[in-house]
Structures are given as structure tokens and as C-alpha cells.
């Protein structure tokens, strides 16, 4: 994937390693203590922490710019509109979309996928097929399941191997059936960390005449993403997993497809004119943004993009890759621990189980040591089923995590085994 940061004023030389102590000082919450211990936050796949610049951007909006957007003639409304639209164009540059019209502000990945299912899906006919993969988050399963029920379409699933890698031969076989209209795939699995070869898979789908949605929720915090290079028709992600606020995310869609879609939600802001006889819908992207949006969130997401664009995403990726490798090795050395998801290409996530100890109990004991991880099925029950387990413990990393924190994690896992083993 090519790196493109056309809004990276302070971009460092790409050979330089990430300055972890410096980035840590940008995140105020990392100084918190939990249960008498320094916080070790390893639940970044659920939501990442926020740098002070993001916190300040949202608070500055409420303190000095707060007004509704796209409607007032007064000063504040213009200021707020400008800030919101500047954020949109920053995000455009960051994912290298060609047009700001192609970026729709949504609540998050979930809403983005539902939007596509409701609009693109409206043209499905009985017997059409939708392809997803065996390692999707529920938000990239259920909207398609519901759509299939409504349109009498058929949901097909790309299987995976025991390492948690998708089986591309099976994928090609599904496409060869000639009925696939939509392919929806995660870029990176939240439960296992597998990086899927989405560029190749998109090209294959296009050859078979299908449109492609990529769920990038777990990709954008970890690597540079170029939507034109991927050639995905839709790319969805959430602000809160990439150091931005909750309640805001992006659906990128190719202009020519977005233009052909029926409206999603309707109401204010998405129209040009309304009479009781006829409504003329607004232009892109506003046509898909009914109602007052999360203005502070959008501005905060712009600030998160500024933050990431000022770093070298390759250095971020390398640092996190080293964290995953270290955690994997150290956890595997603990008797009884088994890593779930051992794909060759992984980002940000180490999922594991401990013999005879339920992940939930591990989570409680780690918490007592100040270590925050997620335990459970990670909204990916079919993935768990594939591995024959109900749940895992998952440590997930961000750019501010350190090797010392991994030592604390591993010590705490040993502590859990001592208490419960």
C-alpha cells in the first residue's frame, strides 16, 4: 500500500522509530492509576484513548464555535461549518479519496455498513448473493443477514484456516458462481488481528461484477490506508478506534456509485427543496447526512487525523508489529496459554485462551493489576465458533503501548494462573 500524507506538515523521516515516550505524553489518561497500579491500557481495539489535541479540538468547538452547520448566516454558524468541512477534507486527504463528496459522516462503522446495506442493497434481486468472511464483526454480518431476508438474497461466507487466514481459493470459487453482487470484508479482524488481502480480494470481486465494502475499523489506526489504491467501492471506519471521539465515523464511497443510490435517512440537511408534492435531494455528501450531525465529533476526528498525519504511519505499524510479536512470544512461553489467530499478517491484536481458566476471570485479575483487556466473544461469535471456544482474552495495542506494558501483561496472566489454576 502506498503511503500518502498530503497534510502531514511535521512528517518525520520514515526510517525513524516512533518516539513512544513523546506520544505517551500526548495522552492524558495514560497517567491514570487503576486499582493502585499504573494503567496498562490494552483494549485499544474496543476504543483507543484520545490525545490532548483531540480533546482540545472538541472542547474548543463547544467553547468558541458552537452553532448549527450548513444553515446559519451568522458568524458562529459559518465558523462551525468551516471547521466541520475542513475536518472532512483532512480525512479525505488522509485516506487519499479523490473528492470530499465521497466522505459521508456517520456515527461509526456500524452505521456506515447499515447505510450501504439499506441503499446499495435495495437493488438486490431474489437469488443474488452477498459474500462476507468467517472473521467478521457482527456489524458486518447482521445487516447483510437482514438484507438477505428482505430481498431473498443469499449470504455466502469465505472460510478461514486454523491460523485465521481467509481461504482465497474458496473465495474465488464463490465469485465464479456469477451471482455475487456485494462483497463485504474486514480489512483487519478485531478478534484475531488478521490482515486480509483486501486489495486482491477487491480486484477479484470487481472482475466478477460485485461491489465491495471494506470494514476498516481495525485498519485505520494501524496502517496508512489509500482507498484509491485499494479500489474499494466503500470503506467504513469509526473515529473512536483511531484516537478520535466516539459517535462519529466515515463512510467513503465512490462518487459514481453514491450518486446512483437512493436516500438513506431523510429529513433536514439532506434536501434542496421540499414541497408536499416533491422533494429534491441535496448533493453529495449531504444527501446521506440527514439531521444535525455530531459536529464536535467530526471536528475531533479531523484533529485525530492531524495527529496521525504528523506521525509516520509506517513507524506506527512497525512499533505495533513489534508489540504483537513480543506479546505473542512472551504469552506462548506461559504454560497453558494458547494464542488464537496466528495469521502471518497481523495488526494490533493478540487473542489468547488459558487452559481451564475462563477469559472473564483472567480479565478480572488483570484489572486488579491495572491491566485493561477485553474478554468475551468480541462481537465475533462465528469466529469463536470456528475455533471451538466461547470466548478469548484479547490484548490490543496502540501506538502508545510499550514493551514494559507487555511485561506487566504477561506477569499478570501468570498471576491469574496462580490464583485460579
Amino acid at each position: 500500500m502506498s503511503v500518502k500524507h498530503d497534510i502531514a506538515p511535521m512528517k518525520q523521516h520514515s526510517a525513524e522509530a516512533l518516539d513512544v515516550p513523546r506520544v505517551r505524553s500526548d495522552f492524558p489518561i495514560l497517567a491514570e492509576r487503576v486499582n493502585g497500579h499504573a494503567l496498562v491500557y490494552l483494549d485499544n481495539a474496543a476504543t483507543s484513548q484520545k490525545p490532548v489535541s483531540v480533546i482540545d479540538a472538541t472542547s474548543r468547538y463547544y467553547r468558541t464555535q458552537n452553532a448549527n452547520i450548513h444553515r446559519g448566516v451568522h458568524h458562529l454558524s459559518e465558523e462551525a461549518t468551516k471547521a466541520y468541512e475542513v475536518a472532512r477534507s483532512k480525512i479525505r486527504g488522509w485516506i487519499n479519496a479523490s473528492l470530499t463528496q465521497e466522505l459521508i459522516f456517520v456515527r461509526g462503522t456500524t452505521e456506515a455498513i447499515n447505510l450501504v446495506a439499506a441503499t446499495l442493497g435495495a437493488s438486490l434481486r431474489p437469488g443474488d448473493e452477498i459474500v462476507i468472511s468467517a472473521l467478521e464483526h457482527h456489524s458486518n454480518i447482521v445487516p447483510w443477514q437482514l438484507l438477505c431476508e428482505q430481498r431473498q438474497a443469499r449470504l455466502r461466507v469465505v472460510p478461514m484456516n486454523d491460523r485465521g487466514e481467509l481461504l482465497l481459493d474458496d473465495y474465488e470459487h464463490l465469485l465464479q458462481g456469477g451471482k455475487v453482487r456485494i462483497v463485504a470484508l474486514s480489512h483487519v479482524s478485531n478478534a484475531l488481528g488478521t490482515i486480509n488481502p483486501v486489495k486482491e480480494m477487491t480486484a477479484l470481486a470487481h472482475r466478477a461484477g460485485a461491489d465491495v465494502l471494506i470494514d476498516g475499523a481495525q485498519a485505520v489506526p494501524h496502517m496508512s490506508v489509500d482507498v484509491q489504491d485499494l479500489d474499494a467501492d466503500f470503506y467504513a471506519f469509526s473515529g473512536h478506534k483511531m484516537y478520535g471521539p466516539t459517535g462519529v465515523g466515515i463512510l467513503y464511497g465512490k462518487k459514481k456509485i453514491l450518486e446512483s443510490l437512493p436516500p438513506y435517512q431523510s429529513g433536514g440537511d439532506m434536501i434542496k427543496s421540499v414541497t408536499f408534492e416533491k422533494t429534491i435531494f441535496n448533493d453529495l455528501p449531504f444527501r446521506f447526512e440527514a439531521g444535525t450531525p455530531n459536529i464536535a465529533g467530526g471536528i475531533g476526528l479531523g484533529a485525530a487525523v492531524d495527529y496521525l498525519a504528523a506521525l509516520d504511519m509506517d513507524a506506527v505499524r512497525d512499533h505495533e508489529h513489534a508489540l504483537v510479536a513480543r506479546a505473542t512470544e512472551a504469552l506462548e512461553a506461559v504454560p497453558g496459554v494458547r494464542i488464537i489467530g496466528t495469521a502471518l499478517q497481523k495488526a494490533g491484536v493478540v487473542s489468547f485462551v488459558v487452559e481451564n481458566i475462563h477469559p472473564h476471570d483472567i480479565g478480572t485479575i488483570l484489572d486488579s493489576d491495572g491491566v485493561a483487556i477485553r474478554t468475551g466473544h468480541h462481537c465475533a461469535q462465528p469466529t469463536m465458533l470456528r475455533f471451538g471456544i466461547p470466548a478469548t482474552a484479547r490484548a490490543s495495542f496502540a501506538l502508545y503501548n510499550t514493551f514494559e506494558e507487555i511485561d506487566v501483561l504477561v506477569r499478570s496472566v501468570r498471576h491469574a494462573i496462580e490464583v485460579l489454576g
Binding site: 481458566i357 478480572t364 470466548a391
Partner: protein
Amino acid sequence: MSDLRELYQETILDHNKSPRNFRKMEHADRAVDGYNPLCGDHYTVYLKFKGDFIEDISFEGAGCAISKASASVMSSLLIGKTKAEAQAMFERFHRLVTGALNPGEEAEEFGKLAVFGGVSEFPARVKCASLAWHTLHAGLVSNEAVVSTE
């Protein structure tokens, strides 16, 4: 955070490792599935009645130490009790793990249930402790075949 030992008391660890009445029951009068969708815990609680009495209880399934020990202790306490006694115990248990004891009520009076007193200090684990009890409750008072803590 309170002491982990308050939560993971010896009795709980013991019941987790060797759960009592952990088996499928053929010819049960009621078999109710209880789910905790948050962590994926799932148990089936089997009940056999003799008139107003609970003649037998067993359970099977998978979950964390707290939920398994709770199901195990529950089953061993309730065999031979009346449905009304079981209901009353369900309510006491609920008060205990949510830290909502009645005025004058002391955790020490709870007998074998008292080991779950520590759960009230761990709000995230209350649902684990009560899963089997909620499932039992459904088996006693309703015709539901599935309950969920959410």
C-alpha cells in the same frame, strides 16, 4: 478494587474445579437455557419436581469460575427444597451479590451463599454470579425456555 481473594474464595475455586451436579438430566421437568451475551456464558439448568419440592437439579454448560461455582452451589443447596424456598433463596442471593441487603441482614447469615458476598464489590461480575439463578427462576415461575442477562 477489593481484594481478589474476597471474590475468588476457596469454596468458589473448589466448586469451579469440581462442580456438583454438573450433568445432563434425562427426563427433566424443565430444562432452561441461560445466556450471558456479554461474555458468552451459557448454561442449561435442569429441574425435576416432586409435587411442590425440587427433587433434583443439575446443570451443564460453560462459563467463568464465578458463574460455574454459583450454579454448582445453587444446585447443591436447593435439592430437596420447596419451590417457594428456592424462590426466597434466589431473592436473598440477589440482594447479597448486588450489595442490597435488607436492614439488619448480615452476609454471614447466608450460610453457603456467603462466599458470593465478595461479588458485590465487582459490579462487572454480578451477572456472572446470577446467571444460573436467573435461569432457575425462569424454570420455577415461567414457561420460558431461554433467559438472557441482557
